[in-house]
Symmetry: C2
Subunit: 449 residues, 2 copies
């Protein structure tokens, strides 16, 4: 069972308002200590990765500006997630680091170098969550007049992937690094190649300036829900982040797997990780009391800020008590579909809907009940989970100390880590399989005699 | 006396060929351990910063391609220096981190966020070495057809500085962060501002997505030697990296200080750090034997690779034994001027010149002699030093264990660090002074009643 801890280098990630709790250290996100402690906790709990979400703009659709996002710290302020990784690497030996970087925010050459540096420094523990940026605010911070249209964002992402794959897989052959102390020769120039990429969006000459890292290409994560997003995931993603229901997960999985096969991949090349927010108590009643406490502390307005940003429609004027049946716009319907897809809703009013959007992935119960639930998700086709939190780190403390021992007793979570890079732990081999489309950019030469 | 340790996240920084030595750990640059050990060593030695040089391309002028740079590992492979900082921060409390980032390699919004994140995570220990990229290879990796002309590079750098100054100084007022646990209000929107930058090279809307870090603007370092570079340093730089002779340092310093005054700054707002490569021995003979050993191990071809890249002229065909007097091209003359500026030359042949270019900053002697020498540089106008190494970390071990105790006995190097951010340690205040041109982008509002 793959376990990723879904976090963000910010004050308030998904369940807005809870950052004020005394058991939250999210307010200390600017400091290293809470992240080092979290990394140690997750490694103690056998997690595969800490999965760092990110956004390079502000959710400013609500009220036509950033004010409410600022008041409620809705994914704002938000620091660079990559900078946490080298520090957390010093505190751990095995934990993987999946970090988000948008194809808009960094030129592909610069990004490839960042990721390779991280993969070197961590001994091959890096995954990249590929995003195309949904916020117009992000685009306006990066020199784009308005948001790049959705499909063009994916075209851009395709070319970005091609450039970085050429740098990671196609520039330095295996064996290029000689590091010969007697001859003072470090690399064999015959085995290092320019990439000479000239495309619609990018021109990158190469050669790459980094030697190959343990994984070359970091493990590729993606969370595309749209038609174009599914196609992108099917072609590239090794970890697919989904928020589905147990009922519709098999069909979603089968759809993406069938697309992957058309790209020459195998269904087992993709791991599907369901998003869940465990709320754990010693007894069922205790767990539900905790969930109720979280729900009561949620910031309604914070939730509306994020929903407005997600659907691109200002929802700030809607009366919280307005019956949901009176609000069937396309935007509201798409949120409602998402909430209902994820499970039973019971959303009568707009306030119910906002709360449900923040707590729809709640999984409430005792450690035994949670373990049962995760198993039932496995049977529905989840290879693992993006474990979300209500309170950082309290939610992960509850999970690691409560649920993980039960999962370990059932043989579902590792007692100890096998050696080797992240991809080796997940798929049995450190490098992208030859059948992966991005492996097509590898240079193949006969080995030296 | 300011002490910066001049290093690079690569196999071979300046004295090529020495990476093969058993006392070099530079070959392990892909791993965290040697950097953590180095950071601890430098903090033990009272250093102000580790100064991380960088280049985002390959020195490929020599022979018209990258082959010789690859063979001799001439600043290649070269990993992202910023990624070392969070890890080194976990191993130290006070050491500053000056890192190089070219205005070509990262959009200003993304870079500002990286630097602010680092400044937060390190408690305000960050400096930025501003470079404009001299290699055509860098430009070709970043979507530019050919190298941006020298003066346009500085125009671009000026606008880049303006954008990041607006983000760092002008977007979030002091007091914008409330983090009020009772009202669940994190930030005061009335004190956070868009920057709405629309210039020749960059369009960045803002607001900045990070709250102000301890220093806001990292300490600004620069090493411009050209006319345009001096002007840029005079306007922006707080640390100026120079490679001069004791004879011409006063004039260089006076020239840049006079320019700085025209920008409303004070001469004491700029610290001049001379590049020197101490070679330390228990006796003078031992020190000279060590220097001779280093000189004998230098890679002539590695030196020619770097010289060719610096002057943009392929020097690979020149016979090493050719008398220098027969080689008075503009390129050779500019190198010779640089070597002679730095001290006595004794360069009869091209091979002598190449060796002198790599060892021209050698300062050879006993700890007492080195301390005398540094003092004499202080009298000539050096506020401090960028200490370069022949062998990493051996050269810094020699310096910290040999020279620093003598400097401490003379009261020239700190015994312990004062608390506070890097700028406070260097200048007595954590923030840019109001008279700094980049402080002009600050928002000034009356404090709330």
């Amino acid at each position: 069972m793959v376990l990723n801890a879904f976090c963000m280098n910010t004050v308030s990630h998904l369940q807005h308002g809870l950052w004020v709790r005394p058991d939250s250290r999210q307010r200390e996100f600017n400091r290293l200590d809470p992240w080092l402690d979290l990394a140690r906790l997750l490694e103690r709990g056998g997690f595969d990765t800490i999965f760092l979400a990110d956004v390079a703009g502000i959710s400013d659709v609500h009220g036509g500006g950033p004010d409410a996002a600022l008041r409620h710290a809705v994914q704002l302020p938000v620091n660079d997630p990559a900078m946490l990784i080298p520090a957390m690497a010093t505190a751990t030996e095995h934990l993987g680091f999946a970090f988000t970087s948008s194809v808009l925010q960094t030129p592909p050459f610069t990004f490839a170098r960042q990721a390779t540096t991280l993969d070197h420094l961590t001994g091959g523990r890096i995954a990249w969550n590929i995003v195309t940026s949904h916020l117009a605010s992000t685009a306006r911070n990066l020199g784009f007049d308005a948001l790049v249209p959705h499909d063009e964002r994916y075209e851009r992402a395709e070319e970005y992937l091609e450039v970085v794959a050429k740098l990671w897989e196609g520039s330095w052959e295996d064996g290029a690094v000689l590091a010969d102390l007697d001859t003072q020769v470090y690399a064999d120039p015959a085995r290092v190649h320019a990439i000479d990429h000239h495309g619609r969006f990018y021109d990158v000459a190469g050669p790459f300036v980094c030697e190959p890292s343990p994984q070359r290409t970091p493990v590729l994560f993606q969370a595309g829900a749209s038609e174009r997003g599914r196609e992108f995931a099917a072609k590239h993603a090794e970890g697919v982040f989904v928020v589905a229901s147990r009922r519709n997960l098999p069909a979603l999985r089968a759809d993406i797997a069938a697309r992957a096969v058309r790209y020459g991949r195998r269904p087992a090349d993709l791991l599907f990780c369901q998003g869940l927010t465990p709320v754990v108590g010693g007894t069922e009643a205790e767990a539900h009391a905790k969930a109720d406490e979280y729900r009561a502390q949620l910031s309604f307005e914070g939730g509306v800020v994020q929903m407005s940003g997600m659907v691109g429609v200002d929802l700030s004027d809607i009366d919280p008590d307005r019956p949901i049946d009176e609000l069937r716009t396309d935007a509201i319907q798409s949120i409602l579909n998402g909430v209902q897809r994820a499970g039973p809703a019971g959303t009568q009013t707009f306030a119910d809907l906002v709360r449900a959007a923040m707590t729809g992935q709640f999984a409430v119960g005792t450690p035994e009940q949670l373990a049962d639930l995760l198993e039932s998700w496995q049977h529905a086709g989840a290879d693992g989970f993006n474990i979300m939190h209500s309170v950082l780190p309290a939610s992960f403390v509850d999970f690691v100390d409560g649920v993980v021992p039960v999962l370990r007793a059932r043989g579902l979570v590792r007692d100890h880590y096998e050696p080797g890079p992240l991809r080796q732990k997940l798929f049995g081999a450190a490098r992208l399989p030859d059948r992966h489309p991005d492996a097509a950019f590898r240079v193949r030469r006969a080995p030296l005699a």
